[in-house]
Symmetry: C2
Subunit: 256 residues, 2 copies
């Protein structure tokens, strides 16, 4: 495995459902995280349901560290976030998952250890747990329906951590393995071919409209970022259409 | 409900598990989306499991539109994205959920309709489904473990849509409802009080170190962004410690 060993510890405080532990582990590994900590889980937490839900991320589940108290679970960390949906009326800075991830990247670069706490499914963290954290993290969601499933909340925090340092993708790129776009020379040959045929068939016969029409046609094909193979295909299409027209023309003539 | 009626249609193509439909609906409503479309779901898709997993977002499940084919499900849309983890070796632009969300916001402002397709749990979209899309969307994840649960994938796409227009939060803000930070005057009174006592007890007795020590102590308390109430509490703490020292000193003396 090549994923980084850095990143936040994910601390599930009194999780109630085994499958949520598994789904949280899966969301962690999706984003390169492996340090799972459970505070006072149910005695039967390590069930088949947890392993099934982990769906291949079972080593994260099996590697989970168990603690009796939240204080013990965060003892080795330099910075702790507490996820809460409700306002706790405590004086504590609030991060979004995105701003928390940015802060975590700074701490990581500085060699510090840090983690994020998540409360039990129905009730969330207790105020005494939240008081152990430096910062609250709240996901900005639809105010009319903001209750997140435990594993979904873990996913968003882990996702923002990973995105904060994911190898920068260009905003839009083509699928990998595809041929690169054709050279402009190949494209120009196609334009020459097409326009020759369009001149011949009379499509471009109105002289003062011809320049605009040619530009529009060229723009249309430019926009498609054609590969060399696709340019060949278009040559073939134009050729076949012309040949068919000629064939049809001939047969039409012969029928006359 | 005040959530916007705009946003992407979420198109689940041949979903196999009812609970994933419910969890996807929940992730949609968390992010203000309600247009759920199902292509050829199993006959028993609308099960108790779907409603239980929706956890309050059942109106999204109950409002789902059912289609026989993917082509029918996207017929009214101007732009379609296809989520895929695997490289399909098709020449098609690739978005991340984030760059797709930015494009969607532009389309939305332009009054266009758009949607995102998600394939069956184990197999993903078929190439013929992908060919119906303008653009592929792939979540940048741990390359060693990038398989996302269906509902988790819906969540990330919906989340980025919502975040792309979420009311801009300051990068860090304090929990709402809390008292604002104390005025600097109140803070200064506390510093005066504290330093007077520290001078008296001898903590600041080394003259050439005093300025640095005072600055360090002030910085420490500045960093806490104390409220007025908290400043009062600190006054009380200093007062009590001093009084106790005096009391202890007295009792100590009397015992001598």
């Amino acid at each position: 495995m090549t994923e980084a060993v850095s990143g936040p510890a994910i601390i599930l405080v009194r999780p109630q459902l085994s499958e949520n532990i598994g789904t949280a582990a899966r969301a962690m590994l999706n984003n390169g995280l492996t340090d799972l900590r459970l505070v006072a889980p149910r005695p039967d937490w390590l069930s088949d349901r947890a392993i099934a839900a982990a769906s291949g991320a079972d080593r994260v589940v099996l590697g989970a560290k168990i603690f009796d108290t939240t204080a013990e679970a965060v003892a080795d960390l330099n910075r702790v976030w507490a996820t809460t949906a409700r306002n706790r009326f405590m004086v504590k800075p609030v991060d979004t998952p995105k701003s928390a991830a940015q802060a975590m990247r700074s701490l990581d670069a500085d060699g510090q250890k840090f983690g994020v706490m998540f409360g039990p499914e129905r009730t969330g963290l207790e105020n005494d747990d939240v008081a152990l954290a430096d910062t609250v993290v709240t996901v900005p969601l639809n105010p009319d329906y903001s209750s997140l499933n435990l594993a979904q909340c873990v996913l968003l925090v882990a996702y923002e951590w990973y995105q904060a340092a994911a190898p920068t993708l260009p905003e839009r790129h083509m699928t990998k393995g595809a041929e690169p776009p054709a050279t402009k020379e190949k494209l120009q040959h196609f334009f020459d071919h097409l326009e020759r045929e369009l001149d011949e068939c009379g499509f471009l016969r109105i002289a003062d409209k011809r320049p605009v029409m040619v530009r529009n046609i060229r723009n249309l094909f430019q926009r498609a970022h054609l590969t060399g193979q696709e340019v060949q295909t278009l040559h073939g299409i134009v050729h076949e259409l012309v040949t068919y027209r000629h064939r049809k023309g001939k047969s039409h003539n012969s029928e006359d």
